[in-house]
Structure formats: C-alpha cells, structure tokens
Amino acid sequence: MDLLEYQGKQLFAKHGIAVPSGEVADNVDDAIAAAERIGYPCAIKAQVLIGGRGKAGGVKIAKDVDEARQYASDIIGMDITGPHGEGPFRVDSVWIEGGSDIAEEYYASIILDRGEKKLLAMVSAQGGMDIEAVASANPADLTKVHIDPTKPFDAAAARSIVESAGLAEDALDEAADVLAKLAEVAREEDATLIEVNPLIVTADRNVVALDAKVTIDGNSLFRHEDLAEIADTVDDPQEQMAKEKGLTYVKLDGNVGILANGAGLCMSTLDVVAQAGGAPANFLDAGGGSKAEAIVNALEVIKSDSKVTAILFNIFGGITRCDEIAKGIVTASGQIDLDLPLVVRLDGTNFEEGLAILAEANLPNLHQEKTMLDAARRVVELAGGAS
C-alpha cells in the first residue's frame, strides 16, 4: 500500500523526523483557506501516488492568494502520468505547506532489497532530481549500504553512510539521525520503501524531509490500525466493491473480463488473452478454494465495469473444486442478468462434475472450451474489437 506524500509526512513526524507543517485540501476554497493560514510563499502539491509530479506541473509555489487560487484550481482535478507511463492518476487533493528556504538538496531512502534479503539504505548529496538518472550517470554519487539485520541501526551506524555520501559537514549529525529514524519507520511501521527526495538542509542548517514516498506492507495492516484506515480508501468503484467482497481485483483498461483462481494462473490468463489479440479488463483472483458465493460476487464486480463485453473464467482446480465453480455460475445466472458471453474453461479437481452441472443448466450465453488457449481465443472473438 502506497501512502500519499502528506500521509508519509505524518508518519515521519510521528517518529520525530522534521517535516514542514501543512494542511491537506480536496477543493479550491479549502486550499485557499489553508494557504492563508500558512502564509506565503507556500507550496501547493498534488497528492498522487506517482513520481514526476513537479515536471507534470503538479507542484507550484504560490506567492499570494491569487496565485494560490490559480494553482489550486489548476492542480485539483488534473491527470498526472508517471515517468514510466503509469496512470494517468487523477489529483483529488493537494497538500499545502510553508515554503522552505533551501540551502542543500539531498536524497535518502530505505528500501527492502528482495535479492539480498536486507534493508538497503541509500544516500546522495545530489537530491532534488531523478535519482535513477543520478545513479546511472554517476554511480559513485549514490551511497548504498545494506543494513545488517542482526545489529541495531542507530545514528552512530547511520553516520558513516551520510559521511561517505559527502553531505555537508555541519549537517552530518542531523542527517544521520534522520536516516536512523527512517530505518525505525521501516521497522516499526512495516514500510518496505521510504524515499525522501529532497531531504533538505535549510538556510539555518536544519535537516527537513521535503517529500515522502512510503510503501507499507499490506500484510502488516492487522497491527497498524491507523494505516489500515488509509487502506480502506480505494478510489476505483470496482476495486472498492471487490475489496468489500474480499476479492483480489485490479482494474485494467480492456474489454475482456477475467476470472481465474490463483494469482499466477490469473496473470498467465491475462497474458494469453493479450496474445490472442484481446485486451483484459481486469485481474481477478478468486482465490484457492473458491465457493459458489465467491463466483457470484466476482461476476457482479466484473459486470459492474461497463467496458466489459465478454467474460472468461479460467479455472484449474487444485483446492478449488470445479463443481463448486459450476454451481456458482449457475447460481449467479439466477441472481444477475448474464447478458454477456461467458467463456468457461474448467480443468482439474472435479472438472467432470463441473462440466455436467453446466451442461444440465444449459445457460444461453455460456461457451465451454477445453483448453486455456482455446478459451482465450474464443473470448477475444466474442468480445469484439478492443474498446
């Protein structure tokens, strides 16, 4: 789960890391009122879960109330596309904070290195710009040190990292303290990525986190009530609906609705549909041991996306029993209007029983295929051109 900048800053503040004070607003009037309270100049920053906001025009400094009004109305509601083509992401809110008097811009992060199975601390004196560009142009400018999982990581341990990154001498103690606290945020809040770019030194030589990019491990939310509340705010209506029904659903752009059991098989199903010339509308993992009820829920979620013109069920029963899936399809056809073509491929545990149940129900829009590839071709044909 990714946090918005202001949510990340609130987490930093909780752990004693200096951040500019500010307010969040989701409309222009509130943004202006916040700017008036904070004073000028103030920064008006789009709250979206993607980097490259500045380049996209999502971060502005307002010198007076007129500029605050102008920038807030420009930014709220704008669409921002990420540097790698992610999104677009609609800006629903802005964070307004007091302008900072910047003397130096650094970079600091703590991330989970899956390959090395350790937390990795990265620090650079070249902050405020695209850190991937810094790292590839001049790798020596980015200091990378793995954190020993068996030893405490305190300000003393952090000190050698900020030193070798070449930060200003008089900022070393504070920067080391911030880095140690970022590692504390990682450990205590179950963050798998924390990035501060820029970490600034102000004119009066204070070290302040001017940005915050934080990813929290979704598996840990049971022990973080405050963060779990943030996780409950999902924007997309289909994703919200799926969440309430306990399904793993990710919305995509195409017109072929997809349900499979197991994350790997579901990803593979998206791939073969794309190879067959189709455009998947979603990822939906019905999970192991899916029962009839889950199938009804899944069909409701998929169908609520108006782009969908045909649906593919790709089931390979392991724990999941194909007869349960078939019963779910029949039950669903009685409860919701199945006016879209539904291609079903059942294989694995109890597939013969499942096929018999479907044959007996003789549903009008149902098409059976024996293999995953044939099912993918069929659903693409029935869905018509990618919308």
Binding site: E86, L112, G115, D217, M267, S268, F283, F316, G318, G348
Partner: protein
C-alpha cells in the same frame, strides 16, 4: 530420487487441529506421507484421526521423530511458528501460510540461514515428490513420477503445467512451490542446485512471475552452474506498472522486474522461455525426448 521430501520424510503439521490444516495434513497422509505429529499449543495429548498432537514442535521432534515441519497457522502467528520450527531440530520447514508481514520474514529468513534449516515458502503450495510424499496443498492426482523437476512461484500455474506434462506422458521428480512473497526462504537458485544434484532429474521447468530479480539471478546461475536443460515460463506480461497482482511479490515498479526483462535475461543465457503454460510444457517434452 527426488528433492526435499521423500519416503524418509517424517512430517509434523503446525495447525493440524485447524480446518485447513487437518484437511490437507490428512490428505498428505493419505498420499503416503509419513505424518507423525500435529502441533497446536494447548492441545497436546489429543489426536487427529490417530495422529498425536503435541504442544510444541520440539516435542514432535523428540517424541515422534519429526524431521520436517509444515506451517499451516494463521498469518499473524505464522512467523513465530516458523521460528519455533527452526529451533526445534527439524531439517526442513515448509510454510504454506499466506499474508505474513514481510519484515517478519526478513528476520526469519536469516534465522533459518544461520541455523542451517531449509525453509520453503511462505505463501507457497508446498512440495510434492510424486509417488513418495506430499507436503502442502498441491493436488497430487495431476502429477506422475518422472524426470522433470519443477520449481515455481505460483501454485495453480504449476498445476496447469504439471497436468500438461502428465497428458504428454511424462512426469516429475519433484514439484517445489517456492512462493510468491517478496521474501521467501528458498529462491530459484537454491532449488536449481538440488535438481542439478538429483540423479533422477533430467530437465528443470522454472515458473516465474513479475517482481524482484530472482529470475534474473537464476539466469546467471543457470549459465554458470547448471548442466541440465532448463525451460522457463514467466507470467505477468500484461501487468501494468505499479499494480500489485495478488501475490505480494508480484508488483513491478518502473522498468525493473518486468516479465519481458526476465524473459530477456533467461533467453540471453540460453534458457528457452515458453509463451504460454501449454507451450512451456511442449518445449519441455520436446527437449527431453530430443
């Protein structure tokens, strides 16, 4: 032969008294796995259809001779249960549980490493050595004994490929689900090493998916250390950046960890990569039969 589990496996199941744990533990037993104990704190002295239950894994080791532990307890209690298993004296711990916090697994990973205990998972379907033993939730009816070793991040995708291999008239030495989480006890490389040393494995099928760099690392390792043919499949070509696809590990940020990058890394080292599970199984069979 086979890897990780076989006729000599003596299994203790943590969570055997629970609904899922008893269903799969007893299924494993019915397959022929030597299920020697269940473990549930506070339920020591009971039994589950004749299998004795102990309060601790240590007791299951000392009193019932368990050498392999399967963890089937809910996520928030799972990391402590794995840690207990590591300290108990078993050789292998297979963690099925999904949803364990990743930083808990980070500590547990190093604990297992230090103790010299083999950890498989978490969030995995377990290990099956056809005809010998099954520890986990892999549906054994889709797999016959044979010369192909399978190692996979995904459960259902493995069943799909395994079934196609069976229909083509071949089978498996072992099937190992390493799990789809960001931190797992054993990576592709750990399992590739075991298959390389296993005389009954003639070919290895490796099933990966987006996220992390385990496939890229495996590609380097295969080129340097593996003499047996390896055929791979990667899922997640159509996954958009920044979206998490079910498995906690299956998330890509920016350009690294994409399915295409993994396919390219493997192909650059001479590993053939199938376009679909069906094609992957077909390449494996074709390679095997020369």
């Amino acid at each position: 032969m086979s890897i990780i589990i076989d006729e000599k496996t003596k299994l203790a199941v943590s969570g055997l008294t629970g609904r899922e744990g008893s269903f799969h533990g007893l299924r494993n037993k019915a397959y022929g796995t030597d299920l020697v104990a269940g473990v549930t704190p506070g339920k020591g002295g009971q039994d589950v259809e004749g299998t004795p239950v102990f309060d601790t894994i240590k007791e299951a080791v000392d009193e019932a001779g368990a050498n392999t532990s399967m963890i089937f307890v809910p996520a928030r209690f799972a990391a402590p249960a794995i840690n207990e298993a590591i300290d108990s004296g078993v050789e292998t711990v297979i963690a099925i549980t999904e949803g364990i916090p990743v930083l808990d697994m980070l500590a547990t990973y190093w604990k297992a490493k230090e103790a010299g205990v083999r950890l498989i998972g978490p969030n995995c379907p377990g290990v099956l050595s056809p005809g010998k033993a099954n520890v986990g939730i892999i549906p054994d009816s889709f797999f016959d004994p044979g010369p192909i070793g399978v190692v996979s991040k995904s459960g259902t995708l493995t069943y799909q490929i395994g079934n196609e291999l069976k229909q083509a008239g071949t089978g498996n030495s072992s099937i190992v689900g390493i799990g789809g989480d960001p931190i797992v006890g054993s990576d592709f490389i750990d399992i590739l090493k075991l298959y390389e040393a296993d005389p009954d494995t003639e070919l290895i099928v490796m099933v990966g998916e987006i996220g992390g760099d385990a496939e890229e690392r495996a590609a380097e390792f295969i080129a340097a250390e593996i003499t047996k043919p390896v055929v791979a499949y990667i899922a997640g070509f159509t996954a958009p950046p920044g979206k998490q696809m079910g498995h906690a590990g299956a998330i890509i940020s920016g350009s690294s960890g994409t399915a295409q990058a993994k396919k390219d890394a493997l192909e650059a080292k001479g590993v053939r990569v199938g376009e679909s599970p069906t094609e992957t199984a077909a390449i494996a069979v074709e390679t095997l039969r020369g």
